[in-house]
Symmetry: C2
Subunit: 356 residues, 2 copies
């Protein structure tokens, strides 16, 4: 079956292949296969909802992004949005738009990647739909593949993290490392054969050396679910956002929503290993590139200096995830970077998603 | 601004145009503009969730479907799924994929159509995202427009309607009239100029004569929210489904999910005015065409004969919406139509959506 195409086996059979793999927790009263899913909200909690679509040719290129990574990323970007609100992910709906001639094996691998991440975070896939992508005629390129995921999570009322709570004097922190995904994407793109048609793409199996780690950061970003939950539970953040479109963009969004400015310290930004070297070898401004590079899916958050104890609790429970202070919130609504050679304005981020 | 294109004004400005029009009820704690939306679940109720994507060239053709109707239908098909569960719609997320060269006026009109329906059903648009559609190069057709809506509703535990509760001996009912949308689509298609590029399409303003009513049934289907709620509230249905892919398909889905058969009576099927005449004039088998035609978004439901009193209550509260008995549920798992010339097997429905 897996060597056949989507149009050969039909959407019905495709859906059976997917739903056969799904397990439903007890709070799912009606799962896939009816007009809609029915779930029991978490007692005493609020519902948190977000949707982001990944579109072939806009958000991923099948010539160098393997199908498993497409599925992983489609769910990861949505879970990451929940994490930035301090919410625990619970469920997801999956909307697939598939070109007629796509191999079933590719769909299987996309679903593999998505379900592996879903299982790790105990996210139940409770419904969705599959439809074909248009192809006006044979002279035209096949329509794009698209995956639109809606993620549903829960959060207690007093634990919600928003973008709008930063105040002058707050410190600014970031989880993990910065800039790795953009360099990984660069490496993948330059190593790929971009002349042929989109193929099934490579699946990783090689040990992760430095380059592979950066590529993996792009292909399979780890949504910071636990960090977001800990920040909410400990009331340790005044504002929070996830980094889809780069650090500069994330800082700007918090600043605008909070009506404040932010000054970050170049020397404090925790660049991923190999990022500075990569840009330096190409004669690119390291700071500018690292601030603008998207797809890291780390959390940026602000916290009052008096909350040092709360943050300590978060750090001790967050395991080995680095949490680094990178700057301060200012009253003056300017976004700047302190460098050895003076202050610079923040460069604009890369806009590839826009949330309503 | 409205004469400019999507790429000229940018996604950011487009989103501002949309969010400026949205009003949030008090149970929306965080609306558009953050990483995710936060809503308070309805007390004592369950969450009901569904998603369906409308894809240009698959589910609609911009050469004869005006943008307002695209927006209306994108929300209507999802609200209809909630209605079929007996749920009240509350909120929706909106995922838009837009070709670069699309006029802003078209996007405005799509949103007009969607918001008009949302307001009528008090559905809050709590978030979403906008992204561009891919265009590999100038020699290729522009990427398709897509609207993926996720609708969220609520239902009390004992009022959930599923597809799986029909039992032998139950009666089978349908709301409204059947076959109108498919004839309307046929009329729109045959009256359209299909040689040119997709335009902005006509907006209706003419008085609704017979043809216009059928076309309107396709363009702006009325989700049967009140009927679904009344069926749930009065516990008047043993199974329910909405008709996206035709009456034959809807009956088959209920039969399969319930492990039963269904026999419908040809003479009882409430065809919309003009449907029989339309097919007869074209030499098409009326019964077959009417059973297979999709897009009506009426509800089909089953009910025990002993629930006559409950159904009477539903009818009296449903205003002038016709509710017609069209058949019975059988133990033998066969799907058939009783006609003047004997029993026939049900034809297969038109598969244009598939739910996971």
């Amino acid at each position: 079956v897996s060597s056949r195409t989507v149009s050969e086996i039909g959407e019905h059979a495709l859906i059976s292949r997917i739903t056969a793999r799904l397990a439903m927790p007890s709070w799912v009263l009606v799962g896939p296969g009816d007009d809609a899913a029915v779930i029991r909200p978490e007692r005493g909690a609020l519902d948190v909802l977000t949707t982001d679509a990944l579109v072939e040719g806009v958000h991923f290129d099948r010539r160098f992004v393997p199908p498993g990574a497409i599925g992983h990323r489609a769910l990861a970007v949505n879970i990451s949005d929940l994490a930035a609100m301090g919410a625990a992910p619970r469920a997801a709906l999956l909307s697939l738009v598939l070109p007629d001639q796509l191999e079933v094996a590719v769909v299987d691998a996309v679903v593999d990647g998505l379900l592996a991440l879903a299982e790790r975070h105990r996210v139940a896939i409770i419904g969705g739909n599959i439809t074909r992508s248009p192809r006006p005629d044979a002279s035209q390129a096949p329509g794009p593949m698209m995956i639109d995921v809606t993620a549903i999570g829960s959060v207690r009322p007093r634990r919600i993290l928003t973008r709008g709570g930063a105040r002058p004097g707050d410190d600014v922190f970031v989880t993990g490392t910065i800039g790795g995904a953009a360099v990984g994407l660069n490496m993948l793109r330059s190593g790929a054969d971009l002349t042929g048609p989109p193929g099934r793409g490579p699946e990783w199996s090689a040990p992760l050396d430095g380059s592979a780690k950066l590529q993996e950061k792009y292909l399979r970003p780890e949504p910071r679910v636990r960090a977001g939950l800990l920040l909410g539970r400990n009331r340790a953040a005044s504002a929070c956002i996830d980094l889809s479109d780069g650090l500069a963009d994330g800082l700007r969004q918090i600043a605008v929503a909070s009506g404040v400015g932010i000054t970050v310290d170049e020397a404090a930004i925790p660049l991923a290993d190999g990022v500075a070297e990569f840009y330096r070898n190409r004669g690119t401004d390291v700071l500018c590139a690292a601030l603008a590079g998207g797809d890291d899916y780390e959390l940026v958050f602000t916290a009052r200096p008096a909350w040092r104890g709360r943050l300590k609790a978060v750090r001790s429970q967050a395991g080995d995830l680095p949490i680094t202070k990178i700057g301060v919130v200012t009253r003056e609504t300017r976004l700047s970077v302190r460098t050895a050679s003076g202050d610079r304005d923040l460069p604009a981020g890369f806009e590839h998603f826009r949330s309503i």
